[in-house]
């Protein structure tokens, strides 16, 4: 088991909704001490579904509890100057500040990068925005659907001849989180080597545009806009999902070589496929995929998803199940590898979730711990960390500065 690399690093997490909370959670898994600063008057995922057994409650939201494990929660009223002052004290003893409020919000509260640098000259301060912190659209609020649709990603997602589609899974938030943690680890490495902190700025629309090099190149060469092609591929055929036995059961099949196609034809038991001039080579299959796909589906429709996968994989043909999220969490392979973890939560018990996507020397690093209850660590943070005396703590609590 490798050493958790961020032991001793403290993070002031001003994250909202998914993107920055998800990033800070990964930093917590790597050993950082993360103080999530929440404001009771403006909760987001805590008061949004899904709730455990559909029963609402600030500690019962899966949307919150799955992106805030292994953190401490401290509730401060950031509209109150005394609340802001406590936030500044937390920053003064932290190595990292992360935020994804609308542009300018942290500055207006007196918690912007320029405000906090005097408190902590070597701070690494990350700001993430839908459109970033500069440019004509910097002040616009953009949720995931807007980011999908602005970035061009939706325009390459959808069935042939049909409209643009939104990626599932609040994709822009988590993909942005992956870039954010990479930038943060680099900044912390630089800081460890030089003592120098820095500001990091991230735009979610730009994160999504990193998926589109071919489309950007073609457009800028000659004005060609990409077409939507469903699940098809520029040269692999078949390359699609096919219905199997049961409702909403699908299998993904991707054939790159003629040898793989021969193997598919063999196991699908359709004599003649492999010799059919329409399917004999990749070029012919590309031309005749409208005819080929229904033939494959006729075969898959009679079988269970896992049987198709097994048969094809044993024959050297790439295939995989189309899993829904419940199946992901129940997948024996991913459970065996350690991807699925079930931290115990004081109010809702053990709930499965996804951890890091990699093992280190055979073990899953940074196994998630429980997500905090709302304000669970107020005393620990304010009294132990900031050394605020008892009577002062009680006064702040009575005045609603801490809630």
């Amino acid at each position: 088991m490798s050493t958790l690399p961020l032991k001793g690093i403290r993070i002031a997490d001003f994250g909202q909704i998914i993107a920055v909370p998800y990033t800070a959670q990964m930093l917590a898994w790597l050993g950082a001490e993360v103080v999530l600063i929440e404001t009771e008057q403006r909760l987001t995922t805590r008061i949004w579904p899904p709730f455990a057994e559909a029963e609402p409650g600030v500690n019962r939201s899966g949307g919150f509890n799955l992106v805030n494990t292994s953190k401490m929660s401290c509730t401060l009223d950031l509209k109150d100057p005394e609340g802001v002052d406590l936030a500044k004290q937390i920053i003064a003893v932290s190595d990292v500040v992360m935020e994804n409020y609308s542009s300018g919000t942290m500055d207006r509260m007196g918690l912007g990068y320029d405000d906090v640098r005097p408190l902590r000259p070597d701070v690494v301060y990350l700001s993430l925005g839908a459109f970033g912190r500069t440019g004509p659209m910097k002040d616009l609020v953009g949720f995931h659907s807007v980011i999908n649709l602005f970035s061009g990603l939706a325009s390459v997602t959808g069935h042939k001849g049909s409209h643009p589609r939104i990626m599932g899974g609040l994709f822009p938030d988590a993909f942005s989180g992956c870039y954010c943690i990479l930038a943060m680890l680099e900044a912390l490495y630089h800081r460890a080597n030089t003592g120098e902190g820095q500001h990091i700025e991230v735009a979610m629309t730009e994160v999504l545009a990193t998926l589109l090099p071919e489309a950007v190149m073609e457009y800028t060469l000659d004005g060609t806009e990409p077409e939507r092609v469903g699940n098809r591929h520029q040269y692999k055929v078949p390359h699609n999902v096919f219905r199997c036995q049961g409702q909403e059961k699908w299998v993904a099949i991707s054939v790159e070589s003629d040898a793989q196609f021969q193997a598919l034809a063999q196991v699908a038991g359709i004599p003649g496929w492999a010799d059919d001039h329409r399917f004999a080579n990749a070029e012919a299959r590309l031309k005749h995929q409208d005819e080929l796909e229904p033939l494959i589906q006729e075969w898959t429709m009679g079988l269970q998803v896992e049987d198709v996968v097994q048969i094809l994989q044993l024959s050297g043909v790439p295939a995989g199940p189309v899993l829904d999220s419940a199946q992901v969490l129940a997948d024996p392979h991913m459970i065996n590898r350690g991807f699925v973890q079930s931290p115990n939560h004081r109010e809702v018990g053990q709930r499965p979730m996804g951890a890091f996507s990699w093992n280190v020397d055979g073990d899953r690093p940074g196994v998630p711990m429980t997500a905090p209850l709302l304000g669970e660590h107020n005393r620990k943070v304010v009294q132990e960390l900031l050394q605020v005396p008892d009577d002062e703590f009680e006064r702040l609590l009575a005045n609603g500065v801490i809630s």
Partner: protein, 406 residues
């Protein structure tokens, strides 16, 4: 001459035939690491991918290759021939990172596991990216982009809210026409690599990272997994979406996002639509009611959006503080004032003089910015240079390698 990045001074060897491994290594190069891409003698597969300037296939000008391999030097070696293999092993013994990305059977067959390399270089960090990982019951499965997006749960979840499928039994799950799983695994592979680097500064030794593309996809879906974990898996066609309108609708010249989930936004939106009589109907009296009766509301809103262009609606709405936006095509995104002013795209020029752009760097580090230090290598461009510089091979030794290769 390399500029200073956070990873300047570190050495990376890459050997991969997938987007994920190439992108992972490029990200390390973007941060200043000295990345050596080892290609087979006939070149990386994405040299034959395109798109090409002028549409003419040319292995030196394949767009996807150029994008995945900037900030690297290129070395060609046939690592399955013994003499070339020893040069490859010499490179890994000098490196801080080895990034491999193949199907797991190939990783084993080619002897790319850390246990075979660590004796010569205990500090080596091996980042291995495979479709289903190196261990576990399905680890030998073959897989690619489509398989990973499907087995990781993303295809089933697409289209995502506020979109939904027409008929969940007939409309297939969907991927985007991108190498999304490859980029997800590539970025997460770089994260794991830099995390391992930080661990190495504490413990002194390297490690082997076993990253699964399937899990790299599943890992970015906490919201979908939360539904399955806390309540029930989110259906592909939910009966009701929380609060409406939070949708995108066709308009005169494309699509426009109409988002008015706050009551004030809804009233302002109705004012823009000249306060139609139906706006007062009980069935549209709250966001929840509007969600419940969305099938009735959608065609009414469509009458309004179809009378305008996306830009008109966005302008009208934003003047009233309503977050509506036109959906952009890739071209509109590239040409937008916002993307231009932020200077996001990287300008490229092909040998024929054709100019084009590629996406740039989405994170902006103030002190250690990611940078375009060098273009993608020509096939074998730096074989002699790197073998000399990293290993001190003599010109005769290098020639001898080439003779074997020929």
């Amino acid at each position: 001459m390399l500029s200073e990045g956070a990873l300047t001074g570190l050495k990376v060897v890459e050997f991969t035939d997938q987007v994920a491994g190439s992108f992972c290594a490029r990200l390390l190069g973007d941060a200043g690491a000295d990345v050596v891409k080892v290609e087979p003698l006939n070149g990386d597969r994405y040299r034959r991918n395109g798109p090409y300037p002028g549409g003419v296939p040319d292995p030196e000008w394949s767009g996807l290759f150029l994008y995945l391999n900037s900030n690297k030097r290129g070395v060609t070696l046939d690592i399955e021939s013994s003499k070339n293999r020893s040069a490859f092993l010499d490179l890994t013994s000098e490196a801080d990172f080895l990034v491999v990305g193949q199907e797991s059977g190939e990783v084993e067959r080619l002897g790319l596991r850390r246990e075979l390399l660590a004796a010569a270089n205990p500090e080596l960090i091996v980042t291995s990216i495979t479709p289903f990982g190196l261990i576990g019951p399905n680890s030998s499965y073959l897989g690619d982009e489509l398989i990973a997006i499907s087995a990781g749960g993303m295809a089933y979840a697409t289209p995502g809210i506020p979109d939904k499928v027409g008929d969940p039994y007939l409309e297939p799950p969907l991927r985007s026409n991108t190498h999304m799983a490859g980029y997800l695994a590539g970025v997460q592979g770089a994260v794991a690599s830099v995390a391992a680097l930080l661990s190495r500064t504490i413990q002194g030794t390297g490690c082997e990272i076993d990253l699964s593309m399937q899990e790299a996809v599943a890992a970015v879906m906490p919201y979908e997994l939360a539904h399955a974990s806390y309540d029930e898996a989110k259906p592909r066609k939910p009966e009701v979406f929380g609060v409406m309108p939070n949708a995108y609708l066709p308009c005169q010249d494309g699509y426009v996002v109409v988002m008015a989930v706050m009551e004030a936004h809804w009233r302002n939106l109705m004012a823009l639509a000249d306060n139609p009589d139906w706006a007062e109907l009980e069935v549209f009296s709250s966001g929840v009611e509007r969600a419940r009766n969305w099938d009735a509301l959608e065609p009414l809103l469509l009458e309004w959006t179809m009378a305008h262009t996306g830009a008109e609606i966005a302008q009208l709405a934003q003047d009233k503080g309503i977050p509506c936006f036109p959906a952009y095509t890739v071209g509109q995104m590239v040409d937008s004032a916002h993307v231009t002013e932020r200077n996001f795209m990287i300008d490229m020029e092909a040998t024929g003089g054709q100019r084009f752009k590629l996406p740039g760097y989405p994170v902006r580090l103030e002190k250690t910015p990611w940078g375009s230090f060098r273009p993608a290598p020509k096939l074998g461009e730096h074989t002699a240079e790197v073998l000399d510089e990293w290993l001190g091979y003599s010109p005769e030794q290098i020639l001898a390698l080439r003779a074997v290769s020929a």
